[in-house]
Symmetry: C2
Subunit: 162 residues, 2 copies
């Protein structure tokens, strides 16, 4: 589990560095698919990751508005602000938490249940999916995207030991 979070964080950092060489206008440009833009996507993955961590802990969440984060620096700062709590939660993850139940009340009065294990994997897949969208938009502006390879990043130290 932790390995894939570490993968996402490494890839996200590489995308931040990639963005440093792209004009802000291109980062903010409206695009087809996903949440509709490069910087908006990075903002979205940061926001959603943190929001789920908060929900699992039964803590208050708030919906950040991208309107307030219209620069690479602001998105990175938001990420930095959230990172401690997110990393601490992921670091403390263990198998006993897999089958904890999250109760998610719906507008119609019903209650949807998810296991924490499902939610954590949902978070992982959510980010990888959106990063895949970035890779298309990168090519559209003639730039080579960040590699999505998980092997070769030295992540084996984050694998479960037997």
């Amino acid at each position: 589990m932790q390995t894939m979070f570490h993968y996402n964080w490494l890839v996200r950092e590489e995308w931040y560095q990639w963005c440093e060489n792209i004009p802000l206008e291109e980062l903010l440009r409206k695009r087809t698919g996903g949440v509709g833009g490069i910087l908006h996507t990075l903002f979205h993955v940061v926001d959603v990751e943190w929001s789920w961590i908060r929900v699992l802990q039964g803590k208050d969440d708030f919906q950040e508005s991208f309107e307030e984060y219209q620069s690479l620096e602001k998105v990175r700062q938001l990420d930095t602000n959230f990172q401690f709590e997110v990393r601490e939660f992921v670091r403390c993850w263990n198998a006993e938490k897999e089958n904890n139940i999250l109760y998610d009340p719906q507008p119609d009065g019903s209650v949807v249940t998810d296991t924490w294990g499902e939610v954590m994997r949902h978070m992982i897949a959510h980010e990888i999916h959106h990063i895949g969208q970035l890779s298309v938009w990168a090519r559209e502006i003639g730039k080579k995207p960040v590699s999505a390879n998980l092997i070769g990043k030295g992540l084996s130290h984050t694998l479960p030991k037997i």
Copy 2:
């Protein structure tokens, strides 16, 4: 681990069904990013998944050519042909295999090593990343993409039990 493979297989099946309502011309059209097309992407994820499973088992691999699989039916049939071996390998996955070493000789004579755990997670991330690309191309042709949500798919039965 198994949960994320099951997620990928469910989402892939939903993309096959999505493709049934798209003209073949659109499925084959050259697009920007990734491997350059919708059906080609599905072919690619099927091919790569199987290839890694073969490599981990020390078995022969072969590079399929997409030129031979220019219809949805042919890609699905290839997937069906590979599925038994892939699913059996994933079903039998356990923690003891995490730190097995894959030795990967390079053209320059050096040998790169990856743990099996890294390779399995690489396969998972590889597919999710490419499916993210499909979601952009779907919007480009005015179609709603398949949901990338992992929660809500009843995958908790595939989670590790304590």
